[in-house]
């Protein structure tokens, strides 16, 4: 599963990006926008998509971050804002056994709690570290969180094309399964979301981190109530009859559920994972759950903790003003890259030189744009400890740290790591061979059997403990749920991470007993 050849450009401005898209549209295979790549790269690897050109937005300044926009408390979210920038601090697994779906807590998160709540349902740590808000909207998966949230917040999307910027309301943006209002030469740069007075988010997924089977977002905006369903149709849909009920003051969850159950918008589809009847019934159930959990509309909007960005607009702005606020970015394990290197040659499939720092050493690789970071590490740099288990972004075996963030190296092209610091499993032990405490704990606790998935688990755990030094067992299970192990049943792995956390940090004075509620920082908080 390897992508077909493509050319890769990394424009330095939105205008350049639009220009590249326009030029790329003329090529045989057209052009595709590469943002987080978490949905696009698997399609490329399976050769379900074979564009001639990838326009890589990751060097664009000014598109990452959340800012207040206007006196009504609206928010502007840059298209390159990573899911992780919006997610709540780690906590027990939302939707996992024992935790109810769609629970609320107004104390949670950064920016707006609805965003934090929704972001917590997206994929896993490594997916959230790379995937972007704008990419999710533009990809338009009806089972994804952001399209539904955007619709529920009357989002207005800023779209830049050759003729300049236009504003596209979310209500008309999603045309169908993976289809949007965006023209081939247009770029989504940001979204302006009304700040809800009250909100609730509820989701049902088969496994933790999977795309939703069904999700429901309920918001009260100045303009009225919104009830948005995801996963029932080709796009997220607003449920007019349910909204009308709420606008009329109806607050009975059963009445809302009945309205959704009867709504034409809830006409669902059947697929491998659920029948249409089930989806419709769950849409109604989630709507009623959302309403039961919604907070009084009199609650003031939660303040943005950690000092919100204050610039009036996200783009364009000076690069340092639009970096994600410190409160958003988890502590970095290695310094961020010093400078962005010049964009490589756009020659399709021609070899380009990529300079990167791997485990503290500066390395150069000559590779094609389509070569994944995983393959370049393994095949060119001889670092075969990074393993490929699926090349679909699911199994996590290929996880490495890119500038301190866990990423799937099968979903990251080596050209995207230009100038970055990469930590692989080979870089964890001390020069004298002393194992990293996480490695050591894996050995003590029988956290590995065949050892093939182990490098990805160890690096994910190292990142977890850097961001949450004393995670509970449920938090460990949540954090590792983006990595598949087929041998251990996870028991030894969870034991190992728990032990490593004790090795790395002395235990606190008060006993943090398992199962203790930690409502303040729990994305699934506020439940029974």
């Amino acid at each position: 599963m390897k992508p077909a050849p493509f050319a890769h450009v990394r424009p330095a401005s939105v205008a350049e990006a639009v220009e590249a898209l326009a030029a790329g549209a003329e090529l045989d295979g057209g052009a595709k926008v590469l943002a987080g790549g978490q949905s696009l790269v698997p399609l490329l690897a399976m050769r379900l998509a074979a564009p001639s050109l990838l326009v890589d937005l990751n060097a664009l300044p000014g598109l990452r971050g959340v800012t207040a926009d206007g006196p009504d408390g609206a928010l502007r979210i840059g298209a390159l804002t990573r899911h992780a920038d919006l997610v709540a601090p780690p906590g027990p697994v939302p939707g996992a056994p024992g935790a109810p779906s769609g629970a609320l807590d107004h104390e949670i998160g950064v920016g707006v709690p609805l965003l934090a709540q929704a972001a917590g349902w997206i994929g896993h740590t490594a997916i959230r570290a790379r995937g972007t808000f704008g990419g999710s909207l533009a990809h338009a998966d009806p089972n994804a969180e952001w399209p539904a949230v955007a619709l529920a917040c009357d989002a207005e999307l800023a779209v830049v094309g050759p003729g300049g910027e236009r504003l596209a309301p979310a209500s008309g943006f999603f045309h169908g399964l993976l289809q949007t209002d965006l023209a081939d030469d247009e770029l989504l740069t940001s979204a302006r979301l009304a700040r809800p007075r009250a909100w609730a988010f509820a989701e049902l997924a088969r496994r933790h981190g999977d795309f939703a089977l069904v999700l429901c977002v309920v918001t009260e905006l100045a303009a009225g109530w919104r009830v948005v369903l995801g996963g029932v149709a080709g796009t997220p849909v607003r449920c007019a009859s349910a909204e009308a009920l709420l606008d009329q003051g109806e607050r009975d969850p059963a009445a809302l559920a009945a309205a959704v159950a009867a709504a034409p918008e809830a006409e669902a589809f059947s697929d491998l994972h659920a029948s249409a009847a089930y989806r419709r019934a769950m849409a109604a159930e989630l709507a009623s759950r959302a309403l039961r959990q919604i907070q009084p509309a009199t609650s003031p909007p939660a303040p943005l903790p950690g000092g919100p960005p204050t610039s009036a607009a996200v783009a364009p702005a000076p690069p340092d003003a639009v970096a994600p606020p410190d409160a958003v970015a988890p502590p970095r394990l290695v310094p961020p890259r010093a400078a962005v290197a010049p964009a490589p040659s756009p020659e399709r499939s021609g070899a380009v030189a990529v300079a990167l720092n791997v485990n503290g050493r500066n390395r150069t690789a000559a590779c094609e744009p389509r070569h994944t970071l995983a393959d370049v590490l393994r095949e060119q740099l001889g670092l075969t400890g990074t393993h490929l288990g699926c090349e679909q972004g699911v199994c996590g075996a290929c996880t490495v740290l890119l500038d301190g963030e866990p990423v799937r190296s099968c979903l990251t092209f080596a050209v995207q790591a230009e100038g970055a610091a990469v930590t692989t499993i080979e870089g964890l032990a001390a020069p004298d061979g002393t194992l990293h405490p996480v490695q050591d704990a894996f050995s003590r606790c029988h956290g590995l059997q065949c050892g093939y998935c182990t490098p990805g688990f160890v690096l994910t755990a190292v990142h977890l403990l850097a961001t949450d030094p004393a995670p509970t067992r449920p938090a460990i299970r949540e954090a590792l749920s983006g990595n598949l192990c087929r041998c251990t049943g996870y028991v030894g792995i969870v034991d190992a991470v728990e032990e490593a956390s004790r090795d790395l940090v002395p235990p606190p004075v008060t006993d943090d007993a398992p199962g203790q509620e930690n409502v303040g920082s729990n994305p699934a908080g506020g439940h029974d």
Binding site: M1, A4, P42, P97, L204, R206, R207, H208, G209, L272, H273, A274, S275, A277, Y278, A281, M282, E368, H371, E379, L383, T384, G385, H387, L388, G389, C390, E391, Q392, V394, C395, T424, I425, E426, L428, Q439, S443, H446, Q449, C450, G451, Y452, T454, P455, V458, I476, R477, E478, S481, G482, N483, L484, C485, R486, C487, G489, Y490, V491, G492, I493
Partner: protein, 806 residues
């Protein structure tokens, strides 16, 4: 022995220095990709590779020189239909994903580019994906256990089998009809299990290098390197001495890699055509899901009779196993069906038994060995029967298990299929598991919730599920797995060699794909010899180093290879002590080895060391007494003849959200009798990992084909393997009742996988009175069943009553 030292393999695996075939890089190495059939059944009219430069991109098809060989899984079973599996599809592709052509390129990217330039002209044929027809048996139950023979089909998968049946066998003991007629209750269930597979995190992988002097080296992520050498040598007509198979670190196997695949053969044939060029093929996940063996695509029509106290009077069954497009090599199409028929009744006593099993070929991926082989399905079937029987008689479901379990007084117990169960400790496991689960406390909570009634809305019913199983492990020649194949997998060789420095090298025939054999074997040998663990090195997986071994499958490493290691180590120890007796002028009976030192009875200080003795054995033949040959090593085979049953019981408590059908596991308990544990941590890890795979198969994993034979779950986004967020914490207990073999051990690799489907089906029935007749148990199926149950009752969803999950 009995301790859990750090595993010897851990350091390299934890530091990224494992030696997986996937990681292998050799000079001049080129890469192979396979073109796979997009059709489930189609005639190949032509393959056109003229767009590729043959010097740059050699292309191979069934017509290439040397490709006219086939894998032919053989069995002496009466009526068995032998079929051919070509290395590349010959004339007809029989499942979507079958390799049709192969291409060579400098890297995998370019190989996949080249695949896009090969054109195949197809002529689609009618497709059959299901191995049974609904309602194949008379509705009145007559003839159960004697299912009618299948009818001819329009487009048979193999011309040799016009009805697609590759084998059928009826197991029969006692008088089932009379026993059923005299029963207080007779229950019938119609059950379907879900196709799923091993999905080790490392896919299949191979590197083949054929040198000009006629030697072939095949690095392969196989569980069975000697078997691969033997089979390849025959297929390639090469002397075995010129064929070397090396299985280094392997990223999980679970049975899927205990097969010689057509891709393996094709890769070696290609290497022979391109001497001097190492050819590497690494299976990607899409290929694995589409083309590696899958399992458990079965249908069971089962009937059981009970007396009024809940004792089983008879069991009758008809079983259809979907064997896919080919008879898996070398295990044959009978691997699942015969295991199902042979061990259907599990650890439950029953004298009257009749079971007809059939292996039906279809246009799907071949079925092969996967952890537990058929028994996760048969355990599920038996537990369903016992639950239905308990309900029909108004008895407690756990009591019905207890009254039927083979007990210590029954051992040796002859199963109706003549296998002999040598453990009677199921009841002890059950009692221990019930206590660990707090079964009594949960029953109280269950009653409390029931009393609140369905109207309470948020009340989630609790259910307790149970499964008891006998894991037949370490099969010796009299019991060994498989349908009368031309080989018997009852034995293993082990060589233990003391080097001149007194340190020990172990060459073991079995292999390891995560089971920690490097450590376990070292523990066995260190213990038997009296040397330090650090002084024992273990090698396996290289046919040039090791004399013989069948490999890793059927939970046989500890029992068979452990026995061989123990015997060989004992023989070397004895030889060392005999020499030491001469050197130190002591009686052999007074000498012992401890931590590599030689002690004489009664003296606290050692008189010498194993290194001293070994030095004489190798370097100072002038000091060797008469009758002693130089060297210090021994090779021993071990065959347990029968095998060792491992007892296991799993209990779980679940709750079900009636509004969404979501099933939450509250507690999971497993108690096993694995005999004597060589390394308790590894035993624990095997049980936990196998339970997780069982849970995956029961709740999430499903390889789904549409009617056209297209795999609809071709990525890990659709084929759902459970993560750390889905797998519960587990409470695993052991009772150690030594088995009758040199180490007193029983195998533990598969047992955990046998329980979960039965446990979860039983728990659902206990919670909401709904029979799970089809796996996997998914939220939408549960919700639908609850919904139908409520409609039938005119009551709110979640009320007790009868229903069915389909």
């Amino acid at each position: 022995m009995g301790a859990s030292p750090r595993r010897k393999e851990d350091r390299r695996l934890l530091t990224g220095r494992g030696r997986f075939v996937t990681d292998l890089q050799l000079p001049r190495m080129r890469h192979v990709a396979f073109l796979r059939s997009p059709w489930a059944h189609a005639r190949i009219v032509g393959v056109d590779a003229s767009a590729l430069d043959p010097a740059e991109h050699p292309v191979f098809t069934a017509d290439s020189p040397g490709f006219d060989v086939s894998l032919r899984a053989l069995s002496a079973l009466p009526g068995y239909v032998t079929t051919d599996q070509p290395p590349l599809a010959r004339g007809t592709a029989r499942f979507a994903g079958e390799a049709v052509a192969a291409v060579v390129a400098d890297d995998r990217y370019q190989a996949e580019d080249a695949l896009e330039r090969i054109e195949v002209d197809w002529e689609p044929l009618p497709v059959m994906v299901r191995a049974w027809t609904d309602g194949a048996l008379a509705a009145d139950g007559t003839g159960v256990g004697r299912s009618p023979a299948p009818e001819p089909v329009p487009a048979p998968v193999h011309a040799e089998a016009p009805d697609n049946q590759l084998l059928a066998r009826t197991f029969e003991a006692g008088d089932v009809d009379a026993a059923l007629a005299a029963s207080a209750a007779v229950v019938r269930r119609s059950l379907t299990t879900n196709r799923h597979g091993g999905n080790p995190m490392e896919g299949r992988a191979g590197v083949a290098l054929y040198t000009d002097d006629g030697h072939l080296t095949f690095w392969s992520g196989t569980q069975v390197p000697h078997l691969v050498r033997n089979l390849l040598a025959e297929l390639l007509e090469l002397p075995e001495s010129r064929l070397r198979v090396i299985a280094p670190d392997v990223g999980g196997g679970f049975g899927v890699k205990a097969v010689l695949y057509p891709e393996d053969l094709a890769l070696c044939l290609m290497a022979r055509a391109l001497p001097g060029t190492p050819l590497k093929w690494v299976e990607d996940r899409a290929e694995h899901l589409a083309a590696a063996c899958a399992s458990r695509d079965h249908h069971y029509e089962v009937t059981a009779g009970f007396d009024d106290e809940g004792r089983l009077t008879a069991v009758a069954a008809d079983v259809w196993c979907n064997v896919g497009a080919y008879s898996v090599y070398p295990w044959t199409a009978g691997i699942e069906a015969l295991m199902a028929g042979g061990l259907m009744t599990g650890p439950y006593k029953v004298a009257h038994y009749r079971c007809t099993v059939r292996g039906i070929t279809t246009n799907t991926t071949p079925a092969g060995p996967y952890r537990g082989v058929a028994r996760p399905a048969t355990v599920y079937a038996m537990e369903c029967l016992l639950d239905s029987g308990a309900r029909a008689l108004g008895l407690d479901p756990v009591d019905v298990r207890r009254i039927n379990l083979i007990g210590p007084d029954d051992v040796p117990y002859r199963l109706p299929t003549r296998l002999v169960d040598d453990t009677g400790y199921y009841g002890e496991c059950l009692d221990a598991a019930a206590e660990r689960l707090d079964l009594a406390g949960l029953r109280v909570e269950q009653a409390r919730r029931r009393a609140l009634g369905p109207g309470a809305g948020v009340v989630k019913p609790i259910g307790i599920g149970i499964a008891c199983y006998n894991e037949l492990t370490g099969l010796g020649r009299a019991a060994s797995a498989g349908p009368r194949m031309p080989f018997r997998t009852g034995h293993e060789a082990c060589t233990v060699r003391v080097n001149p420095d007194g340190r020990v090298l172990v060459l073991s025939g079995v292999t390891s794909q995560g089971q920690g054999w490097e450590t376990t074997a070292a523990q066995i040998v260190a213990d038997a010899m009296g040397v330090a663990l650090d002084d024992v090195e273990v090698r396996y997986g290289d046919t040039d180093q090791v004399l013989w071994g069948f490999g890793a499958f059927s939970s046989r490493q500890a029992v068979i290879a452990g026995g061989a290691a123990h015997l060989a180590a004992g023989a070397v120890r004895d030889a060392a002590l005999r020499l030491a007796a001469e050197l130190y002028e002591a009686s052999v009976a007074d000498l012992r080895l401890e931590a590599g030192k030689v002690y004489v009875a009664g003296s606290p200080e050692p008189v010498g060391s194993l290194a001293d003795v070994a030095r004489v054995a190798y370097l100072e033949s002038n000091r060797l007494p008469d009758g002693f040959e130089p060297g210090l090593d021994a090779t021993r085979f071990y065959d347990p003849v029968m095998g060792a049953f491992a007892a296991g019981v799993q209990l779980a408590a679940i709750e079900i959200d009636p509004a969404t059908g979501e099933l939450t596991i509250l507690r999971w308990v497993c108690v096993e009798d694995a005999g004597r544990a060589i390394n308790p941590q590894i035993v624990h890890g095997q049980v936990a990992g196998s339970i997780a795979q069982g849970i995956g198969g029961a709740l999430y994993e499903h390889l789904v084909y549409d009617e056209g034979g297209n795999l609809r779950t071709g990525t890990l986004l659709d084929y759902l393997m459970p993560t750390s967020a889905e797998i519960p914490e587990m409470d695993i207990g052991h009772i150690e009742r030594p088995a009758d073999n040199p180490l007193g051990v029983r195998g533990v690799g598969e047992g955990g996988t046998l329980g979960p489907a039965g446990v979860l089906a039983s728990a659902v029935a206990d919670a909401i009175g709904i029979d799970v007749d089809e796996l996997p148990i998914t939220p939408d199926r549960l919700w639908l069943a609850l919904h139908e149950q409520a409609s039938a009752d005119g009551a709110a969803v979640g009320s007790p009553g009868e229903g069915t999950v389909r």
